[in-house]
Amino acid sequence: MNPSYAECSARERIARLFDPGSFHEWLPPEQRATSPHLAQLGVPCAFDDGVAVGRALLDERNVFVAAQEGEFMGGGVGEVHGAKLTGLLRRAVRDRPSAVVLLAESGGVRLHEANAGLIGVSEVMRAVLDARAAGIPVLVLIGGANGCFGGMGIVARCADTVVMSDIGRLGMSGPEVIEASYGVEEFDARDRALVWRTTGGKHRFLSGDCDVLVEDDVAAFRMAAIECLDRRCPLSLEVLEAEHVLLGERLHAAPAGADAVAFWHQLGIVRAEQVSDLDAAGLRELRASTALSR
């Protein structure tokens, strides 16, 4: 059996996803580019500030890589962490690798670092769009237990391609944040089935927020990344406006208080109740066979 992507650390994912031994790290742990904020708050820092960045080979092609460590501060983006991501993307514009592959696992901005983290994430978004504008494809892989939320959720949707596993999650506010803001009647964060129906890989794949759905398997993520290396999506005002119209129509058509299953029905999926029971291959077949009213 292949190793679970979700169970690997950020560095294990890099070691297994890219060609063996090809990863060359920039700002490695021994350089100690650590957070200047955490120590002041009495919180332990990490030698890489929770993200490893560098270059590697993927199927013998040169790519730039970043992997966020979800176990450290929930993958939260602090000042240094964000600067490493931004620097990697800017360097990609200069050095022109085949693509930039982001192994995202993050709850969003690291709250301890407040404004510095917020600015950091916004700089990452800008850098992703700059890389795409320069013709460098940006891929985001999401399959860690912490999901990809907050500012990093936005970063993911700024990319050309999003690859997810069914246990990966993508969203803006996390389940607990929604419940705290709108009440348990609106969203019960302890209802795991509800959480995954609303933010999980299957839902994102059906809604079109995720382009490729794979099993929770490092080899499957590797294959998907190789296949999507040259995938570029148009980046224009027209595309953005068309997306806004689509989302507006979806919102308008959605029944009040609709659950994800009702939304899948709305998309034209005939066996919407069975989605939770299907594996990734089954979901891919279902999406391909449905003329999704995207």
Partner: protein
């Protein structure tokens, strides 16, 4: 129980080990709840130094005992260990230290 905010910084030095040959720095573990990261780098030739930053204050004696055990298992010299700890138990610390040594012994791919 101490209510003082902030980290505790500890340092230990062990002498009399066998010198380790040249190696590239190695990082094992993750700074997560109940876990720690250990960075192993070449250090002063005659000793094994250990620098610890931990969120769990007041466990200096236990750290010393765990590290002395480790140094008896692996009497290394010329090595500098740096640890960021988030409340790992002594058993987890011991396992991570052993993992760090076994990573050193494997040639880097």
């Amino acid at each position: 129980m101490s209510t003082a905010a902030g980290m505790e910084r500890l340092q230990f030095t062990f002498r009399g080990g066998r010198r380790v040959g040249a190696f590239a720095p190695v990082l094992v573990g993750v700074v997560g709840s109940g876990n720690l990261e250990v960075l192993v780098e070449p250090g002063e030739t005659a000793s094994c130094t250990v620098d610890i930053e931990t969120s769990a204050r007041g466990f200096g004696q236990i750290w010393e005992a765990v590290l002395r055990d480790f140094h008896e298992r692996h009497p290394l010299a010329g090595v500098r260990l740096s640890i960021n700890d988030m409340g790992a138990t002594p058993a987890v610390v011991g396992l991570r230290l052993d993992q760090a040594v076994s990573s050193l012994e494997q040639p880097r791919p």
